[in-house]
Amino acid sequence: MKKGWVMLALVSLMIVGIVGCGSNNDANSNKSAAVEKIKFASDASYAPMEYMDTDTIKGFDIDFIKAVMEEAGLSYEVTNTGWDTMLTSVKQGTEYQAGLSSVSITDERKETYDYSIPYFESTNMIMVKEGSDIKNALDLKDKKVAVQAATTADELMSGIMGIDNANLKRFDSNAVALMELNGGGADAVVADIAIVREYMKNNPKQNLVGIVDTENFGAEYYGILYPKGSELREKLDPAIQKVLENGKYAEIYKTWFGEEPNLDNLLKAE
């Protein structure tokens, strides 16, 4: 019994110690915030757009924001917060001033957030196993389709199949949706083209085929997510425009995707 009390005392001491250290760190970060460091939140589980390479955040979006912030002459930081935390904290706009996470611009989302000008053109791609009779998006109507919940793929397929269609399966992440295709529970996966290509590149032995259907899956655009009425938006939009036009963007695009971006569409979109 006596030992128990000693342990309890030790554990409480440790907790106090940890909490104490924690508040020290907070004080430090508050000091650096005085130099006005723009903080971006991101859900870094979307290779190759943003992902964690062990403890560093990498990806196309990360290189892109680096160019933008250099152009704007601001210091910044991107933190992997996960999707939900990113959404709530950007909405509040106190801790993180913006979200950078391949967020597609849609009208419904604009009701809650502000967006930067579009910085990336994407489309959804269908991935099926070799020999499948699926040729375009409308063929998916009475097939089993796996998507990542809360993505535009989810929204598009809800439109085609009906939101409460039991054959439309929404998963926690694209990785699990892709496993469902392997497991035979789905006939196709619909996801952002960059994600599907990355997956096919990493799994060449699985005999997968990607289908692009520009007719039924229109182009969509990613934007930086801001809280409503953000001032940062006005500061960064010209910088984004600059990066798009001065060749820096094309350079980054090429290193990640090995091809030239279609800048005409991107600059026309708004």
Partner: protein
């Protein structure tokens, strides 16, 4: 704080469907879990260690690993070889039943072992067989003591079923995730889901205290 009732109303029909599925999954899993748990509980009380050992391992495995991982293993590792392909509903029933069985087994064992050994000895000295002693003397008393613990297990199971959204079983959490994606809003879907789970578990606990009083 702005709270958009309109999107909750939009999602109300599917949330209702999800709630029905959650109830269905929970009821079936509790049922199978208890039956399986009763067997495992008796197995763990076997006198010989080599009879006890498999049941012991079963309980340790399912109680000692996260349900999150168990769902993934069942969905992608166990069901496809048996059923031929993945199926979220089968995963739901299998994973939750197996998990709940481990906890039920311990509840049964605790209940039965809480009855004084003298009761059994008395029953046997009256000429009852071992089985009769269990059936008529020990179990009726033990079950009364198990009810609160089972109530706990039922409630935990109802809430744990939310993890099935991971493999796209269209239950409550699944639909609130969908709601979240369409509008990129957090509070409407999560608080709605929380309220539904609360209503479910609260009614369940009321029902259980009613049963308890009846015993």
């Amino acid at each position: 704080m702005d709270f958009r009732l309109d999107i909750i109303i939009q999602y109300f029909p599917v949330l209702l469907k999800g709630t029905l599925l959650t109830i269905g999954i929970s009821v079936v899993s509790i049922l199978f879990g208890s039956i399986l748990g009763l067997g495992i509980g008796f197995g763990k009380m076997a006198p010989k260690w080599y009879f006890r050992w498999p049941f012991h391992s079963y309980i340790n495995f399912f109680r000692g690993t996260p349900l999150y991982v168990q769902i993934l293993i069942v969905h992608f590792g166990v069901i496809p070889p048996i059923y031929g392909k993945t199926n979220a509903l089968i995963t739901a029933f299998v994973a939750l039943s197996l998990n709940s069985a481990a906890y039920s087994a311990e509840i049964f064992r605790a209940g039965i072992q809480s009855i004084d050994l003298g009761q059994r000895e008395a029953a046997i000295s009256l000429g009852m067989t071992k089985w009769q002693a269990m059936r008529f003397i020990i179990l009726p008393q033990a079950i009364k003591r198990m009810v609160p613990a089972f109530g706990n297990e039922f409630i935990v199971l109802v809430k744990d079923s939310s993890l099935l959204a991971l493999v796209a079983a269209p239950e409550i959490m699944y639909w609130s995730n969908t709601m979240k994606g369409q509008y990129l809003r957090i509070w409407e879907p999560y608080l709605t889901a929380a309220l539904i789970y609360f209503i479910l578990t609260y009614s369940l606990s009321k029902l259980l205290s009613y049963v308890e009083r009846g015993l």
